[in-house]
Every structure is written in C-alpha cells, then in structure tokens.
Symmetry: C2
Subunit: 322 residues, 2 copies
C-alpha cells in the first residue's frame, strides 16, 4: 500500500526510525548521490545509523560526496529509503535485495512506480535535492558545508547549472541558501560544467564528425560505441553530459544519444525541445523519465537499435504532417 | 569630480532628470545591453525620455532586448548615464561625443576609470544587471516581464548561467525574482547557453584542431583568424562564449583567445582559473577587466600578437618557479 505523505510526516517517520539504508539509482548522477549523501549526513548528525547503497563503488568526480557520510559502525538495516529512483529496475543489481522492502520513497520524477509504504513525490522540484533540503529543514538539522556541497551538486547537476526548463525561482533560492552557507559551488561548477579532459575534447570532435540528422534536421543522433570508448579510454566522467549535445544543435527538437554497452545492449538517452515528450518516446521502449529528458535500455545490437530509434523518431516528428 | 553615491541617491538623481542617453560598451554583451534596455524601460515607464546608445545596430540574439524600449519621440540629450562601461575607450565610436559629458556611471568592474559627476560602482555584483535591479526597485518602478527579460539576460550571460565564480547567493536570489515574474529564462538560456548553430559546430571542431598548449599545458591558446570567420561565414552569435573554451581544458590556468580583426589589429580575451589574474595579464597590453576574465586590443598582426602573448604567458606562469 502506498501512502502519499507530507514533508513533515516524512521528517516524523525518519525521526522515529534508525538503521537506515538509502537507495540510489544505477548509473548514478549528481542528484541521486547528492541527495543520498546529504540525507545520510543529516541522519548521522541526528545520531542515527544510515548508509547510502550504490550499485557499484563511486569513483571519479562524484567521489567527494561520500566524505564524512560513512556510517560510524556496521549495522543491520531496519528501514529502507529510496531517493531519486523512479522505478524498481533502476535499482540495478540491488533490485532483488530491496525491491519489496522500501519503506519510504522520495522522488521528483513525474512517473514513479516504486512500491513503498510511504511516498513523497514532488515533480515540481527540479531535483530530488530540492526536496531533501526541505526535509533536512523539517528534521531540524543544521545544514553545514558538507550537506550543502551534496545538495548543491544534486540541484546544479539536475538543472544543467540552472539552465534547463525545470529550474524555478524556488530552485534558485535553494541554491542561493547553499551558496550563503559556503558550499564549494565554484569547484563543483568547474568540475561538472566547465572542465574538459583532453579525452573529452577528442570525444567531442568524434561526436561532431559522426552526428546524424533526420527529419529535416529536427532529429540529431549521436553514437558512443564500445570501440570509441576503448580507443579513447573514456571514463564516465569524460562522457558526463554528452546526452545534452544533440538537442543543442539549431533546429533539433529530438536529440538522441545511443550508447553501445555490449553486442546485445544499448542505452538510449533522449533530450527534447518544445513539445516533444522524451518520456513518451522512451516509454515505447520500456523506459521513462521527464518530458524533456528520459532514457531507456534496449537489448539489441547497435545497428538494430539505431533502426528502431530512427523509425520511432520519424513517426513522432512526422505526426500530424500528412 | 567624481562622487561615489548610494543606490538611493542614484534613484533620486534619475527621478530629477529627463531626456537621458544610456551608453553601453562596444562589442556589446548581454550585461551592458540588458542593463541599458532595462533602465531605459524603467525610465520610460516613469514618463521620461530615454534612449540606449550603442556603437552599431544590434542584430542577432540580443535584438529582442530592444523591444518596447525605443523612446516614444525624438529628444535632445540632457543627461548621460553609462552602464557596464569600465573605461572611456570602451565607448568605441561614441567616445568622442560622450567621453567628457557622462553624468552618472553605473558599473560592476573592479577597475573603473570613467570620469563622471556621479559614480555607482559595486564590484561585488556579478553583473551590472544586479545593480540595475536594485536601482529599479529604488525608483519604485514595477518590474514587468520585459524588464525581467533584460535583467535576466544581463545577469545570466555575465555569470555563464550562474556557473562562474562571480555568482553569489544574491545573484541567484535576483534571478529567482526574475523567474517568479515570468521572464523567458528558458528561451534565454537556450539561446545563449545551449543553442549551437551548425557553423558553431564547425568552429568548435576547428578550435579543437588548432588549439595550442604551453607551459606544461597550463596555458591554452585558440585563434580565430579572419580566414576562418570568412570561410565559415561566422556571425558574432556563432562565436558567442568561445573565449571560455581554453580555460575549460584540464590543467589550464590561463586560457587565451586571439581574434584577428585585421592585418594590424587583434583582440585578446583572457580567462583564468585559480590565482592567475586575467586583468593583470591584460593590463600589460593596455586592457583590463576582472580577475578571472579580461581583455585587450593589440595593434599588431596575429603572428606578432601570438609571440607577445605567449611570451607574457610564460613569464606569468613560470613566476616563482626558479
């Protein structure tokens, strides 16, 4: 049974709980990790045991979020909270262990089908980090620099540093508070929105050279093959944010990134402008997300995935034309 | 004689004035134009005659800022206000006419040597647009969507959409107000921070192919020659923000863009990370600006400018090494 609750009720529940596992989604981004570690820190400051559960060890640019958030001691999990996880399959390798035992789900996705006893889903928040900020206030915990760094990372990365259409006045006020607290916004912005590794430069050249256009330039598709990842020795950090590239090109309404994961699996990221629904597009392939940003995984080789995606793109963009 | 005044005094002066010319700087950016047109609109709403003076007609992405700001009728200029102009030479072709008759100078640059009867210079503001927002409040004028669009453009473009180190909590709160008012932040962000023309894509490929590194990769230099501008038929909009590219590369502390303007003139833009002062660097060549972003013009051909700049870069970056 799912009960939608208020932020005060969420705070009340957490106050009464202890020994908490906080679940994040696979292929973790700044919002799921920043929200998770901020909440873990707040619970730790309250004297509780809390641990952020990830699918694999966090390395690279997101690693700093973990600082100080390790639980003080080992403990047995009693309560489970998911943050920024829209659907059970996004728990990845942790799905089997946790799927049927989530007590509280905190999220900002328009569609959320996590089965949890208590749910707080606010799709008007640009990032789950915005919700966690309100929650930590409701818990009465002082937001220190470490929490502020986590929340700033969550909010800035989910809004493209306040550039995307999900950014509201409240988003900017939340970030303003975190800057007032002295979060390392400058370092975080540089890391996630400015810094280009030399490999990233090579990757962008490759992307621009191989980008394809369809439907009179309304659809742009880029490909990240296993071959280019191997050849340039690309890390996840090198590839951060590339999904945003095709949508940026003049005239593009539907920007698609196809990442080859193996001979029989591709991940597809969709970003849209205007009235094209990314979540509807990905819904056709069992995925989902937001109106302007969504994703799906397709168990086919990249040639087949390219065909499927382009065919769907033509259908969507040519709708109502005849 | 220069008198530093408070924002309330600035408001009081403007209330008592009429028939005002508002000066902007040459090679205009979003801050000088957004500030100028926002102020013109506010003065117009107060029933005054006000006109924004630019060096040449505004075309392309900034053109929308002018909407509704044209003066209702012709008038003879009685008072002159400069916005975001750090030094008289930045008035360009308008210098001769206006240099010695500026009544009020409003700016946010650390160094400002405009001779004006009254000066309001606040270098803690990320953009002159932040100051104009306070000023319009002090004037008691309601900030409508048109003014909000101008001010949002001013503030967002001068902070790289809130990414740069000049962004403060106050900057974000100012922007939050403008979003609450319903400014077209989404369209503005898309235009200035997302949109890439196909020509821009070609330009970035060219830049990445020809970028040079010095001092163990601490200095990156890019070149925009007359030849590439002609060949790709580049507009100012196509080239917007390229000065930010070299600084973004991993390890770069000093990012330099050399734009060839003619056989005997180059414009140099400098962007820095960490403790390298861009304004000091450009000061050596008669230019100036902020600590992390500055510029200068050098009356030499591009080969000579390249030599001068690289030699200076080596001096700055190797300082204290021996």
């Amino acid at each position: 049974m799912k009960t939608l609750v208020t932020i005060d009720k969420v705070a009340q529940l957490l106050k009464s709980w202890d020994n908490i596992h906080i679940l994040t989604h696979q292929s973790p981004d700044g919002d799921t990790l920043g929200s998770g570690y901020a909440l873990a820190l707040a619970l730790k400051y309250m004297g509780k045991n809390a641990k952020v559960i990830t699918c694999k060890e966090i390395e690279g640019n997101f690693k700093f979020l973990q600082e100080g958030a390790e639980p003080a001691k080992d403990f047995s999990c009693e309560k489970v909270v998911s943050v920024d996880v829209a659907t059970p399959s996004l728990l990845g390798d942790n799905m089997e262990t946790y799927e049927n035992r989530i007590d509280l789900c905190i999220d900002h996705h328009v569609t959320n089908d996590i089965e949890a006893e208590y749910k707080y889903v606010d799709s008007s928040s640009a990032a789950t980090g915005e919700i966690i900020l309100k929650l930590i206030d409701a818990l009465g915990v002082n937001i220190d620099k470490s929490i502020a760094d986590c929340l700033y990372t969550a909010i800035s990365t989910d809004t493209g540093c306040f550039k995307y259409s999900n950014t509201t006045g409240d988003t900017l006020r939340a970030a303003a508070r975190l800057l007032d607290i002295g979060c390392s916004s400058q370092q975080i912005n540089y890391t996630f929105f400015e810094l280009m590794t030399r490999k990233r430069v090579e990757l962008e050249k490759y992307i621009y050279d191989t980008m394809e256009f369809y439907c009179d330039g309304q659809c742009a598709v880029i490909y990240i093959t296993c071959d280019i990842v191997d050849r340039l020795q690309l890390t996840d950090d090198d590839m951060g944010g590339i999904e945003g590239i095709p949508r940026r090109i003049e005239g593009v309404r539907l920007g698609i990134t196809i990442k080859e994961k193996s001979e029989s699996l591709c991940k597809v990221s969709v970003r849209t402008n205007g009235d094209v629904s990314a979540s509807d597009f990905c819904g056709n392939f069992g995925g989902g997300g937001h109106k302007a940003a969504a994703g799906c995984a397709i168990n086919e080789n990249i040639t087949k995935v390219r065909e499927m995606i382009i065919s769907q793109a033509k259908e969507v963009l040519n709708e109502g034309k005849s």
